[in-house]
Amino acid sequence: MRTTVPVIVAFLSGFVMVVSFFFNPDRTFIGRAQDVVLQWVTIVSGFTLVLGVFSIVRVNGRAVVRRTEDWPFKLATVISVFAMAIPAMLPVSTTSVGGKIFYSILPQSWGSWFGTGTGSIYDWLFNFVDSPMMETMFAMLAFYIASAAYRAFRARSADATLLLLTAVIVMLWRVPMGEAFLRLFGDSIPDYLNTFIMNGFNVAVQRGIIIGAALGAASMSLRVMLGIERTYMGKG
């Protein structure tokens, strides 16, 4: 019961997607089933993400209540989740059922602060707090990449030299001064770089990896649908 039902559900929901691909969605019920099942999956997946965030709040909330190490920072996490999520979840429309009740208590002019639209608390927090921090986090990686490159980019073998040379050439090519330097060796050098490195070697390897990964994904999917792969169920 605890494992058989999920295996049957997984098989049926996957089977519908595979079979409906071969039917015309305008003429057949099974063809239309694809869209319906996709909508259902989007809804269930949405709840999955909410569950994940609920779990973050629960774990951090417990740490705050028990006053464990670094609890003030965990409190900051919990407050941040609520500060972002709650205004976004409050109703924007004054005509909806929830909106009518909500705006009978609060002034209607507050409506523009809620939801996810421009001018909302959610939008402001994203633009002025979340987004600058995200960009800074990625910008910080420049330092770590430089440090990693210093250790990894020693031309100790032919393979490492090839990696080092290509990276240096591409980095040079991507800045105006470097491009001007490359043109000293021939006016069409930057064009050749674009054609043969980016559209040649790079495309070939990307395709090889994509084909390999897709073959792996297809075989793993088949294992899931047939109930051979059950690790997603966890223990018990």
Partner: protein, 216 residues
Amino acid sequence: MGESLSFVQHFEIWLRAYLILSLFSFLYRDNVFYKLSEHIFAGLSAGYYVGLIWQTVIIQQLVNPMVDNGHWWLVFPGILGVLMFTRLIPKWSWVSRVSLAFVIGNTAGIYIISSLHGLIFPQVASTILSLDTGNGFAGTLLALLVVVGVISTLIYFYFSKEHTGLLGATARVGIWFIMIAFGAHFGYTVMGRISLLIGRAEFLYYEWGGSLSQIF
């Protein structure tokens, strides 16, 4: 100097500057300012997805169609979604497997079709058909380069047979291709990150500097 900034604009600039500098302070060493910003970032990012999913999925795809259009059958995915929360009750956590199996099985079905129809066949076709583009010598050379690269890369990742003889030689060519492609990727990534770093430095210099010069 630009136009005079309002109090709110000053506040927004100073807040962004504080967050940027507090995160960059980690480059020296771990500290209280970094930790606080890091935890706020984690919380806001989680909250961002809750808001997004609530509005675009739960309201737009579940509640509104049920309330406004009478699509009562959407109550079933709603129940499956709620069942996901049984994961929090150890005795009943196995029930959430049904919802999870529904999502995983469906994703598997989509992957089978999209892998074959959307990835493997088009990528193989593009590789082979590029040999017949008629773009002169350079075009044919490029197409041949791509064909050799795709085959040798695939062979490099084929671990079911020992890489010796012809297979080993082809895998060796595959490594060269992979090294060049990864080098190009690395170069691109570094330039992207440097570009973001320049963006942050420009913000601190122009916007925060502008705010500072107006205040002091």
